[in-house]
Each structure stands twice: as structure tokens, then as C-alpha cells.
């Protein structure tokens, strides 16, 4: 593996992403956790740029780093956020989860590094946002409409769920 710009960029971005996720696990205040999550999502947008997915990188910044983080901050501020993430009542539960997730990660990494994956790279020069738009609005127009209906239903459902219930 030769050291080139792509390797350095991938290394730095993945360190940022994993570091943000580890901070998300270890920080105490919930607002700090939201900041760590936003940092991780921003690094994932950089990973998309490395994979020649420019439009997806911008969408990731707009929706996740912008929209979902702010939505989560609303969720934190509207509920009780002053109490801190205390110790678990069942200390063996954390250890058991750690062992389970660790063995899962080990199996997945072992499978990935032994799988016969090809080194064929797509012709990234042909990747374009224009192609993406044509595909979404021609070939995938039915899923697109279904997703728009889903978004509308989610909007209405969220308003109904979070509305203050009137006392009968």
C-alpha cells in the first residue's frame, strides 16, 4: 500500500469518524454527545467525497450535520438534559454487551479480510450528479414517489404524536 494523498485523507477522516464515535460513547453530558455525533457525520461526508460521491457528501452535510443534529438538539432541550449519564444499575450488562459486540466485530472484520473482493474500480470519471438526477427521476421514479409519501406521513405523524394532548 503506497502512501499517497488518498491514503492520508482516508486515514485522517477515519480517525476523525471513529474518534467522534468513541467520544459519543464516553462523554458525560448529552449535549457534548450531540456535538461528537455531528463531528462523526461530517467526517463521513468527507469519506463520501473520497468515494467520488460529491452529491451525497453535500446531502450528508445538509441533512445529517445540519438537520438531524438540530432535531436531536431539540429533543435534548425539550427533555431533561441536566442529569448525566450515570452508572448502569447492572454493571455486568456493560461487560456482556462489550463482549458480544466485540466478538461480532471480530467475526465481521475476519470475514471482510478473507472475502474474495475484487479490486476492480468503476469508471469514476462517468460519475455525475446529472446522471444521478436522471436515474432518480426516470428509472426510480416510483420509489421516489413512495418516499415522498413516506415523508409526508412521517411529518403528519410526528405532529400528531408530539402535540399536546387535550384534556377530555
Amino acid at each position: 500500500m503506497q502512501i499517497n494523498g488518498e491514503f492520508i485523507a482516508f486515514f485522517v477522516l477515519s480517525i476523525f469518524a471513529i474518534g467522534g464515535a468513541v467520544l459519543l460513547m464516553n462523554l458525560v453530558r448529552v449535549v457534548h454527545m450531540a456535538l461528537a455525533l455531528a463531528f462523526t457525520l461530517l467526517s463521513i461526508a468527507g469519506i463520501y467525497l473520497l468515494l467520488n460521491a460529491e452529491f451525497l457528501a453535500v446531502v450528508q452535510v445538509l441533512i445529517y450535520t445540519g438537520g438531524v443534529s438540530i432535531l436531536m438538539l431539540f429533543g435534548i432541550m425539550l427533555t431533561r438534559h441536566r442529569d448525566q449519564e450515570g452508572d448502569s444499575v447492572r454493571p455486568w450488562h456493560n461487560l456482556l454487551s462489550f463482549l458480544g459486540v466485540g466478538s461480532f466485530l471480530g467475526i465481521v472484520i475476519h470475514t471482510i479480510y478473507n472475502a474474495p473482493l475484487t479490486e476492480i474500480t468503476a469508471e469514476v470519471g462517468t460519475f455525475s450528479t446529472a446522471w444521478l438526477g436522471e436515474a432518480v427521476f426516470k428509472q426510480y421514479v416510483i420509489p421516489f414517489e413512495a418516499v415522498s409519501v413516506l415523508l409526508l406521513i412521517a411529518l403528519v405523524g410526528a405532529v400528531i404524536l408530539a402535540r399536546k394532548e387535550s384534556k377530555p
Partner: protein
């Protein structure tokens, strides 16, 4: 870059999210970790749209739909959480045991 690096990064992020879902007690933080797991899956989709036997840009379309569904899920999740908080006055996930038999 070999594709295995991207897949390994995605697996690590997914495992961290899974660990958070299993251990965190604050329901908002559990929602954070679910978002992290969805993003880890998206990295796989985009990586396979660049590397692989039949690599083409269709993977980006799939990721766009995943991001949309994840945004809808986050909105409904926060709404359910606020309704639960209003009724139970707590955000601890292990206090929500109304449906326990």
C-alpha cells in the same frame, strides 16, 4: 485505497453504534447511536458503488433513499420520545416499562 478499508471502517462504526444502543440509558443517546449505525450501512453502499464487479452509480440512488428514510425515522423517534417524556417525566430507557407483562 482497497475496498476492505472502507468496509472495516463501516464495521467499526456499526459496532460502536450497536454497543451504544445496548448500554446507554438515555433514550436520546440511543437515537444518536441508531443514526450512527444507519450511516455505517450507507458507507458500505457508497463503497460498493465505486469498487466491485458491477460497480456503478446506482448505489448512490440507494443511499439517497436510505438517507430520506433515516430522516423520517429520526423525526418520528423524537416525536415519540417527547410524548413519552410528557407522560412519564423521564428519558431513561429502562423507565419505559408500561408494556412489561
Amino acid at each position: 485505497m482497497p475496498i476492505t478499508s472502507y468496509l472495516a471502517l463501516s464495521a467499526i462504526l456499526f459496532s460502536l453504534g450497536l454497543y451504544g444502543v445496548l448500554t446507554k440509558r438515555n433514550a436520546v443517546v440511543v437515537l444518536f447511536c441508531i443514526e450512527l449505525m444507519l450511516n455505517a450501512a450507507n458507507i458500505n453502499l457508497v463503497a460498493f458503488s465505486k469498487y466491485g464487479l458491477y460497480a456503478n452509480q446506482t448505489g448512490h440512488v440507494f443511499t439517497l433513499f436510505t438517507i430520506t428514510v433515516a430522516a423520517a425515522e429520526a423525526a418520528v423517534g423524537i416525536a415519540i420520545l417527547i410524548a413519552l417524556y410528557r407522560n412519564r417525566n423521564s428519558v431513561k430507557a429502562d423507565h419505559y416499562n408500561m408494556m412489561k407483562g
